[in-house]
Structure formats: C-alpha cells, structure tokens
Symmetry: C2
Subunit: 298 residues, 2 copies
C-alpha cells in the first residue's frame, strides 16, 4: 500500500432514511469496522424496528435534529423531496466538525438545497451519489455487498472542505466502491440518460398495460423479455417522483429525444419500411453489444 | 397416466432456420427420443456447420424444398419475413401426410401466407408460437431446456386437420411446454402488448443513446437498471423488423397508447406535478407486484 494514511474512523453515523441505500451503507461500514455506532432516522417505526432487528442500525430515532446533534457524519438517504425539510431541521443541531453527505440521485438540486438550508455548514456538505440499487426498498432490502465494485459519484463544490471530501471518499471505498468526481450538471445529464429516463419508460409501459381491462391476461402471457424490461418499474414511486421532478430540465430534453426516436420507429412500422426499422434496431443491438463487451473486459 | 395414446414418433423433422427457436426444438425432441433424424435448413453454411458440430441437427441443407420432400414434419423457424418465399418453395415438394408448423411470433400474417402459398396443403399447417427465447440467436444459442414450463400458443383454423394439431401439441408437450389455443387476432394483440411493444421501446432507447457523441461515457456510468431494461435490445434486428411490420396494426395502436402514457408522465414532470407522476409510477409498481406474486404462486 503506497497510501500511508491511517484508516478512517467514524464514531457516530446518522443515517437519515434507513432503506436500501442508507441501510447498505451502514452495513458495509460496520463490516469494515469503521463505524462505532449507527443511529437510523426514519418516519415509520415499523421500518426502524426491522432495521434494528436485522442489525442494520444500532439505534432508532424519529427526530433528525436529535440524531444529527450526536453524529460525526450524517448521510441523507431519504427521497430527495424530503431534503429541504431535513436540512432545515438538522442545520441548527450540527456540531462544527460534523460532515453531511447524501445518496441522492440528482446533484444540482441537492447542492442548491444544501447551499440554502445548511447555511454556514455548506462547506462540510459532500454531495454524493452511489450508482447502485435494486428495485427493492426498505431496511429489509439492505445488504453490505451492495456497493462492491460499483461507482460512487462525488460532486464537491469550490467551498467544500477537502478533508470532508476525503473522509466521504474513503468511507465509500471501504464499502468496496469505486469513487469518481463529476461536475454536478454533467452528473445530472448522464443519469437522466442512463437511469431516470429508463425508469420513466418502464413505469409508463407497465402503467399503460395496467390500465387495460385485460391487463391480467396480458401479463399472464408475458415472458422474460417484459419481466426484465420492467424490473425497475418495481422501484419506489415516491423516490422516483422526486428524482424526475428534481432533474426535470435534463430529463425533459431526453424524453423529447426519446420521443423522436420512438416516432422514427413508429413511422418505419407504419410505412412498412423494413430497412429504416432494421437500422434503428441494429444501432441498438450493436451499441448494447459493445457496451457488454466493455463491461466484461473491465 | 389417463392418456392412453402411444407416444408420438417423428421419423424425419426438417427445421428451416436453425437458430435459438428451431435448434432448441430439435434438441428437446431428440432428448425426448421422439425424432429419428433432423435435417437443418439454413442460409449460411457456418451456422449449419456449428449446428451439426453441436449435435443440434443430424444433417445440413441449404435447399428447403429438398429437405421438406423428405420430412414428416417441417418447422418454419426463420424470421417471419422469409415465410412467403419458403412456403412457395416447399409447397410442391411436400408429401401428403407431412405436417407443417411454425415458430413465428405473429399469427394472422403467417396464417394468411400459409393459406396463399401452401395451397392444398393448408389443412396440414398448424400455426404455432412458442413463448420462449433469449436475446441470443444462432444455433450455438440453442438448448434443450428452452421450452420447459413455457407457453406454446396454437392457433388452428377451421380447416386445420385435428390429427396434425394433436401431433404438434404433443411434440411441444414433449419439450416440456404448456400448450394453449388462442384465436389468431387475439394472439397478435396480446403479444403486441407484452412482447413487440417492449422490444420497440428498448431498441429505441438504446438507439437514441447510441446516437449521442457521449454514448460511450453514458453507458460506462450505467448500472443494472439500464442493463436489464435493454436486454431485449440485443435481440435479432432482422427477426424483430419482420415481427413489428407483420403485426403493425396491433402494434401501432399500442405505440399510440404508450405515447399517450409517456406524454402524461412528461406533462407531470414538466409541471412539477408530483401527485400525478406518483399515480403513474404507483399504478406500475402495484401491477408489477401483483403480476410477480401470481407468477411465484403458479
């Protein structure tokens, strides 16, 4: 090891929102032996009880400010729509050294909230986004291996304290993740394309099918193709509502681009233009192939 | 066993199009000990050589008529766009007792082709569609277990000989499949919804992303959500081109319904209408959940 720094230690971690993301972060840091105590903060007692019962957190609280007052690191891992209220609540309680970070899927809006609601503490806020997740949610879905070999994006600002960035980076690395820094606007554009848009597409497909009176029959005849395509339509509606609205500028542009591509395919089908349709399908097949090859090589 | 009929025997089976569907049918019937000899018919010698080498077929031919002349059962398992030419070629060569069936993903167009190009032999044609497949294609992708516990749809017509229907049904049952009869128009509507539309949606998404100059970066940051959503965009462009154009009437209607649902979601995002967006996402999540529960129970 060329890195001679001693391993980081977090005495008390507060995880606000004990779901798949927050719960898995807690479990991974516990397993790495980096954190002494984790306080889980949530809205529903049942989920907190599950989290304590499964050893995901050590202690449960429904009071974000009280938990933040005792924490050395606070991870905001609730749906992004709750961040403004949560930041307002915790800001007066934070001790000077306490680092605040988040697991939100959008970064420009979260940074704007932090700038506004964390006030003087903004320099100790490290905007982050772990690129991991499954369609499952809640504390029972959490597992320590979630972040192994996955990317975590950090989007530090000019004001962000570099020691805080280092600690958050090392904490994610201790979870097995690969940490990458990205500009917040570029982050939001990339994830609108590869994550937010696919979720809207999948939700809309299942929603449309579900509205039909024969939905049950249709789904009964479906195979693995539809099942995989709509796996992400099992994701949390509240979380994805917040993400889509928070990242609306980038997402609307991509929805328009997607609508145009779908219109191209539709026109080719209507006109019986096999060549035009095959061109679209081949471009997709080839890109997917190259992408998979690259994935397997890495 | 209450069914006292002796097990079926097929002396010579001709599989026209030795890919995932045709190759797996051959392997499954061989393993069940039902077929003595399988002649594979294809356009490219390399794929036929692979098929013989892997034991998927016993003998290779590039002449559909010559193979059909020796066959007791002919399975058409090429892309549907080739069916008119193939049917014209084999029709004069068929012996009176020979049964012709297919594995095409659309049924109304295939039945119309058979009525026109198989002529007097139409009564021995059994329209069929096995609901199975992966995104892989070619003889090397074939495996005997592909049809285990999967649905196979038969769409016999008023003229279809019932003995021919019985033999085709029992052959698919010997592959481990569950055989269901459906009206051809209803079949096409159902599969436009649960298969053809999802393929167009996935192909269009990857095609749109692939057109961007930053496609490589985007895909490098994508996670499991996009990967599953676009798995079917790895499917054969030629096969799906033919399916989409063959089933265009049903598919266009569904594309329009889908476009409207996407527009609802887009409007909610643009207006920041979280309630409307969450309603769409929840409808999808709940329908997917019910569908999965039903799948697990069956």
């Amino acid at each position: 090891m060329s890195d001679a720094r001693p391993p980081i230690r977090i005495d008390t971690l507060a995880v606000v929102g004990v779901g798949l993301i927050g719960g898995s972060f807690s479990l991974a840091l516990k397993r790495a032996g980096i954190v002494r105590r984790v306080i889980g903060v949530g809205r529903t007692q049942a989920n907190l009880d599950t989290a304590v019962g499964l050893g995901v957190i050590d202690e449960a609280s429904t009071d974000p400010a009280a938990a933040a007052a005792r924490a050395d690191v606070v991870l905001l891992a609730s749906p992004v729509g709750q961040f403004p209220a949560l930041m307002s609540q915790i800001a007066p309680a934070l001790r000077e050294h306490t680092i605040v970070t988040d697991g939100g899927s959008t970064k420009q809006d979260v940074i704007a909230y932090a700038r506004r609601f964390l006030g003087a503490h903004f320099g100790r806020f490290v905007p982050a986004h772990p690129i991991a997740g499954t369609e499952r949610s809640g504390a029972a879905a959490a597992f320590a291996e979630l972040y192994r070999d996955r990317n975590v994006i950090l989007a530090p600002q000019a004001e962000t304290d570099s020691a805080a960035v280092n600690l958050v980076r090392e904490a994610w690395q201790a979870c097995g993740a690969n940490v990458v820094e990205l500009d917040a606007a570029r982050h939001d554009e990339i994830f609108a394309a590869v994550s937010h848009l696919p979720h809207v597409i999948a939700f809309a497909l299942v929603s449309m099918l579900a509205k039909r009176p024969d939905a049950r029959t249709l789904l009964g005849f479906s195979g693995g193709g539809l099942r995989d395509t709509v796996r992400i339509a099992g994701s949390s509606p509240e979380m994805w509502r917040d993400i889509c609205i928070a990242n609306r500028a980038a997402l609307l542009k991509l929805l328009d681009d997607y609508g145009k591509e779908l219109e191209l395919a539709r026109g080719a089908i209507e006109n019986g233009d096999g060549d035009a349709l095959e061109t679209i399908f081949e471009r997709a097949r080839d890109a997917r192939q190259r992408w998979l090859l690259k994935e397997q090589a890495s």
